[in-house]
Symmetry: C2
């Protein structure tokens, strides 16, 4: 970084001026004095890159805006680029260019970091610039900073998060109003809480990017989004919700990452039953929460809005101040994401608790047959519940099992063995249980 | 700070080796390699100050220990002092001496910061050294760092915390097991959750120190512990617990600090009814939680263990790493606690919601008399509930009122006017309501 005049402003470029970018623009312009006091130098916004110059917000100086983001990032004397474009292509090129030009970066782009974080962090560390991304996981909740700084003297062992507000809202509605997935999704879309194409949310892609970032940060290793086991919520039914309720649980889409005993990492996104007494169980609506276990600090939870222009902008501006202070002092904070090199354990080798539900013929000896299959695969059953579902013509029984901690592969082997059994009257439903 | 060899270790002195200090000692010695990687230099523990050399833990190098803390702090080339002695006298002298010697300080001492934080922060800023104190408020919960860094681009407006695990445990027991205050306190003492002299906890002194720190940090001004309005929990009865339950609330001892519309600050510690649906309501046992409102970030909550050797040590070591990194790079983070200068509003000028409960003669016209007093003082009543308490010989009625937002002084004026009324059959009970 070149030596510069002590009073020279910190020069900032804003890339993208949508919901979050517009709020960042508002905060940076209306809080200029306070930000200058915090940083110890004025923040000078040198340019805002937009897709089209038709997008310039009313009342703003039009000369500040450009549709040539690439030139803005390469502008001489630029200190910090705030990337709020999203996606991996254009945004990736701009972030790489910024770093190559010695410019520090603040981004809220989970997809970009989840896919290419390793290369970007390494490039930033090599260039001696900051790459901050508090807003990329769980919106305004300060989770990156605690993991990156407060807990560095500790060993995080598990991070479990509700990191997607859309799916949390849908599951909430399915629970409180007995809606089907399709009905709840339609409601979320009407309220603007789900996109017209909801795939990224309801299939768990968004949560998987965040799980990858959380895993990388918590365990100082690189985990990419495509290494995260992923299962969405589209197949969940009101029967699953009721089964969770009967088990004293609520259904949540969780991003889970764990340090395994053998030093490997598990990273996964899937629906999970969470006991009603667990702090995550009461996180409702579009809120996000991160629950973590650490060797020394025990149990911590962070709760807050997971999205929204103003909350996300708050996190971005918090990063901006830290990066600007670093810039003023000529220092940068290394990401250390690649300090350890840990393998990601395949899902089959991960252990969890399982809730299994299946309809069987109501005949003698069936429970014994089922129990024998579980015993053969060393899956220990914790509770069994047999009930007679209403309104079924045939004499059938519904069997619910909760297992003790069991290996995924062993549980899947049980399901494979049971599949096609003459006494089965429908498919077997498997839902993992976390936080027990 | 003198220039030093790039590979020279960061020299650290530990002051105090009790529950927290012992855990810090363990973490620093057993995690030496990881900490060196995080800091970019080895951490060298140059000495541990204990009250008496009889206290040296088994298996530790005895030459490391000293009962002369003053000389240890003044030792040549010391980088960081970790103060875990507690109290204001000895600890205060040592922290001031460390700062005067150009040594950065990490402390968990809420009493010291609550009483003398302004002078200490100013001295640290003037000396260009760090003064970090994550462990001073809410143990292992990373709350100082988010307030100091993540939210600097935002405006925090309210912080409400359950910051004392002892009183939270006592109130929990009074609620779940219908115990009296005295019974619940005795149980907490048996479990080691309350001291033999519980005054600092149950009278709210401990919480007031933390409220002062939170207010100072959130609003960039100096609030000392003796400016915090303080009311403990010793007067609470099972009747109060039941009244809270009937109002759909739970009773918590809260530390509350708010930025008022006129720019002044309110800082107070008192029991409060919290609606059962509020995130703070479900914080149970010895856990702590900080709930905050910010203009942009909306609602955030942080939950975790409020005390305990290992969790508190985790927070101390997190600070140690940050301060050591700063030290290595020759920088320090100013506290900015005194950036704004805000007055603390007297309790009478603070507005809240109030729950009032009193027993009156069961005669016609009394509700009208009571209502007239509230109207005269412009206190707007939100709900009224009149019931006949069981087992009373005389014909009496129990009256419960919940007010809308009202000025404390106006509510107190109502109570003064009602005091001595011929229809009153006992004292009036006032409990504030927060989080509505």
């Amino acid at each position: 970084m070149a030596e510069r005049d002590e009073a020279a402003p910190i020069r900032v470029a804003l890339l993208g001026c949508g919901t979050v970018g517009g709020n960042v623009l508002r905060l940076v312009t209306t809080h200029a004095e306070e930000l200058a006091a915090q940083v110890g130098r004025p923040i000078e916004l040198v340019g805002v890159a937009v897709r089209s110059l038709d997008e310039v917000p009313a009342g703003m100086d039009p000369t500040l805006f450009t549709d040539d983001a690439a030139s803005l990032v390469a502008r001489d004397g630029l200190d910090i680029a705030i990337e709020l474009i999203g996606g991996t292509e254009v945004a990736g090129r701009l972030v790489r260019s910024a770093i190559a030009h010695g410019v520090s970066v603040v981004t809220a782009n989970k997809a970009l970091l989840g896919a290419h974080g390793d290369a970007l962090f390494a490039a930033a560390d090599a260039a001696g610039v900051d790459l901050y991304y508090e807003a990329a996981v769980a919106g305004a909740i300060p989770i990156i900073r605690p993991l990156r700084e407060s807990l560095v003297g500790d060993q995080v062992t598990t991070v479990m998060g509700i990191v997607n507000g859309t799916t949390n809202y849908i599951l909430d509605k399915m629970t409180s109003e007995q809606l089907s997935f399709e009905q709840a999704l339609a409601q979320a879309q009407r309220l603007g809480l789900a996109e017209a194409d909801p795939t990224a949310d309801v299939e768990g892609f968004d949560a998987a990017s965040k799980a990858a970032i959380l895993a990388s940060l918590s365990f100082h290793t690189w985990v990419s989004a495509d290494q995260v086991y992923r299962e969405g919520i589209t197949h969940l039914t009101p029967d699953d919700i009721r089964a969770a309720e009967r088990a004293g649980c609520v259904l949540k889409l969780l991003a889970v990452t764990q340090l395994l005993d053998d030093g490997r990492v598990s990273a996964r996104v899937h629906p999970a039953m969470v006991p009603r007494t667990h702090p995550l169980a009461s996180v409702s609506g579009a809120y996000n929460a991160i629950f973590l276990l650490a060797r020394e600090a025990d149990r911590l939870m962070f709760l807050g809005p997971g999205a929204g222009g103003a909350p996300t902008a708050s996190a971005v501006v918090g990063d901006l101040v830290t990066v600007a202070r670093n810039r003023r002092r000529g220092v940068a904070s290394p990401s250390r994401v690649a300090a350890a090199s840990r393998a990601v354990a395949p899902m089959g080798e991960v252990s969890s608790h399982y809730h299994l539900r299946f309809v069987v013929a109501d005949e003698p000896g069936i429970l014994a047959s089922v129990a024998a299959v579980f015993a053969a695969h060393r899956v220990s059953v914790r509770t069994v519940n047999q009930s007679a579902p209403e309104g079924t013509p045939e004499a059938v029984a519904q069997l619910s099992l909760m297992t003790h901690l069991a290996r995924e592969a062993d549980v899947q082997a049980c399901l494979a063995d049971l599949d096609g059994s003459p006494f089965l009257r429908g498919p077997i439903t498997l839902i993992r249980v976390e936080g027990v």
